[in-house]
């Protein structure tokens, strides 16, 4: 209760097992790195509050297990997520190929207008690279989402990735609230009326 915040965004990290989802989250929340591989059990989350345009945004970031045996649990958390990070390992071709399956998984389980982002992790291991940056970008364009190559170990782009996702969600919030007047429907007709009147007025001023 001590800290107040203006927004609460729930984010979700998904991707194959071992691509470094937990490490990315660990880097973002604690700014630390652990080389030992401990498979996540089911689900976990971390909290970090960031500030964007003078608004405090509390990020609750859910880390999911990539293993299939936890799939029932992890998919239950898709619905509540406002943003999803898709993570693959640039040194593992298979994890990149699986991204399209994960996207399909999102389409099945998550809210329709969830904000997505693609991350190619372990970019410090350039000599073991199997997936080129261009392919990652290409895939991101295909799905119309943003892309970044990150490294949890070398702390490259992790912070930026989360900030980008958070600000995208925030921008979406504002846009959504502006575009169509929010809570109740019902005065849609009146809105169009005033629009037509506006356009007529503007034409008038042009003349």
């Amino acid at each position: 209760m001590a800290k107040t915040y203006d927004y609460l965004f729930k984010l979700l990290l998904i991707g194959d097992s071992g691509v470094g989802k937990t490490c990315i989250l660990f880097r973002f929340s604690e700014d630390a790195f652990n080389t030992t591989f401990i498979s996540t059990i089911g689900i976990d989350f971390k909290i970090r509050t960031i500030e964007l345009d003078n608004k405090k945004i509390k990020l609750q970031i859910w880390d999911t297990a990539g293993q299939e045996r936890f799939r029932t649990i992890t998919t239950a958390y898709y619905r509540g997520a406002m943003g999803i990070m898709l993570v693959y390992d640039i040194t593992l071709e298979k994890s990149f190929e699986n991204i399209k399956n994960w996207i399909r998984n999102i389409e099945e389980n998550a809210a329709a207008d969830v904000e997505k982002m693609l991350l190619g992790n372990k970019c410090e291991l350039n000599d073991k690279r199997q997936v080129s940056k261009e392919r990652g970008e290409q895939l991101a364009i295909e799905y119309g989402i943003k892309f970044m190559e990150t490294s949890a170990k070398a702390s490259i782009n992790v912070e930026e990735a989360f900030l980008t996702l958070a600000s995208d969600i925030k921008a979406k919030t504002e846009k959504r609230m502006e575009a169509n007047n929010p809570p109740k429907g019902g005065h849609q007709l009146k809105l169009t009326e005033s629009r037509t009147k506006d356009s007529w007025l503007s034409r008038c001023s042009l003349l």
Partner: protein, 639 residues
Amino acid sequence: MDFANRNNTANKFVCPSDRQLALRAKLKAGWSSSKSNEPLRPEEQEAIISVIRRNEEIEIAERQRVGRLVERVEKIKLHAVERGPNCCRLCGDTFGLLRPQRLICEDCRKSVCAKCSVDINIRYHNSERTREIWLCRICSETREMWKKSGAWFFKGLPNYDMPRSASATPTATPTVGGSRVVQSCHGTPTRAPRLKKLTIRVQDSSSGSSDSAQSEPEDELDGAKAKTGCKLQRDESFRLRAYGSIRSFIDNGERKLSNSFFFSRQAANSRPNTATATTTTALAAAECGDFDSISMSNASTVAQLRRESSFMRRSSVSSSWSFSDSSGSNNSATQQSQSQSQSQSQPAHCRDPLLGWLELAISYRESFHSLDCTMVRARDLPAMDAAGLADPYCKLNIITPEAHTKYTRWQRTKTVHKTRNPDFNETLQFVGVEPEELGNSLLYVALFDDDKYGHDFLGAAKVCLSTVHSTTQYRISVPLGVEDQYSSEAELSQNWPNGKMLISLCYNTKRRALVVNVKQCINLLPMDNNGSSDPFVKLQLKPDAHKNKKHKTSVKWRTLNPIFNEEFYFEASPHDLNKEMLIVTVWDKDLGKSNDFLGSLQLGAQSKGERLQQWLDCIRLPDHFHEKWHALAPDNPTH
């Protein structure tokens, strides 16, 4: 099973292949339908549960935050003046040349002044051009609330707790949803065992006593009618239509439980105990109660079913609520002496359990001497219109030990339209309540149905304030009782500026006509310069294709309380009456200029409450006069 075997051969540590996904898609069970054969180990379960608990803490904080946002908007709404299109919605200033400029709010289309609104620039759909719009403070705050609570994303406000509950300690129990997640990892299809058990029990109890479920409600209601008299009659006639047989079956269970209160306190949290506690109270109720038509074993299963179903319902609404001790008290009058754990068993017929129940939360702030009463929700209220719905609202007052109402002005909540299960979620504040008063005062809540032509009683509850402590919130669920002196007082506190009319209806079977006797009116509006009016009444039965179903009374000169006693005949078959509507308008006769409108009343199958009751009585019991007072509404239906 073939599918499961194939799945085993695949590497479980990676995402499944396209082929596997395509196969699963055919199953129409989602991608996650595959069941791994490894169940979760206990330590894994524990780890997951601990995460779920941590999440719950955050969710409680979030719910309270959203609650504060909601409260903020509600407060602004409460202070809005709403005086019509010529005044600012918020401050009530009138517009004019030298006065504030009139602006129209983009969202609510109501007029506001510049002081009470904000202007924002919004962008046209795909262009860079912007235009300026105005939003009143209520709508801009509502937008802000939608933004901040995440409601914009989830297409509706998430669950929230109103700020009063901030002091309550968050309970650290896993939610039903949480345990369901763990359970489903074991390979159980989708539902938790609790749900399964419940459905089985429903089948069991309904098959075991299906005959009694079908035959008993009427018998029992007849018995109850004889005992409690005419008061019940009206509610039954409404409700029997609205309720299905299963519904009344469950209500029978509630009838058994009618003398047990469900106290829901957030602090206490002992579910296993309550199961037995509730069952024993139910048994005790069955023993002492006068409804002996259901066998005891039957009653206990029904009671348990009821308990479980209401538990499920509640936990789905807000997980921080939990069942705790249930202590008995039956009659709202004895509630005063009732203490929380003490159980009383007196005959249960004092209260009609079919009036539904009300959940409220009370807290007392000693520093402000204010009592905050939150009307949370009401359930199973009586139906008031032909569609089986009602438009309920609450009226509150405090009853002093001298059995008087403390405040002359009754506080009322907003109306929740078209429902018998309203969620009010509204906090009303009584300022100036001394701490020593709490010990022997009662909070009185009456529920009414909102209608243009009069407000009908739905139910009333009294809550003893001695158990209300400062700081901690006291949440309670009370069954609603029948009308008494206070509820009529609450009803009278609503003033009807247009006066009232006494009208009598009768269907004459010999002449095949509806007889309307306009008896008298009281407290009509003065329309003439001499401070009085010259009233007469116009009657029309609609739909009126040939314009021949119109009548009017003589004019009574210079009076505000005219006595007419005039009878009119409208030819109609009883079948037609179900579709027709009698429109009554009162006018002030003016010579040389048009008549002034004084008030209106509509009676028919589409009207509500007492009006509907009178109409239906008239059809059901022909050749008898059915006489009732009705309030007159200020709007003219013929226009």
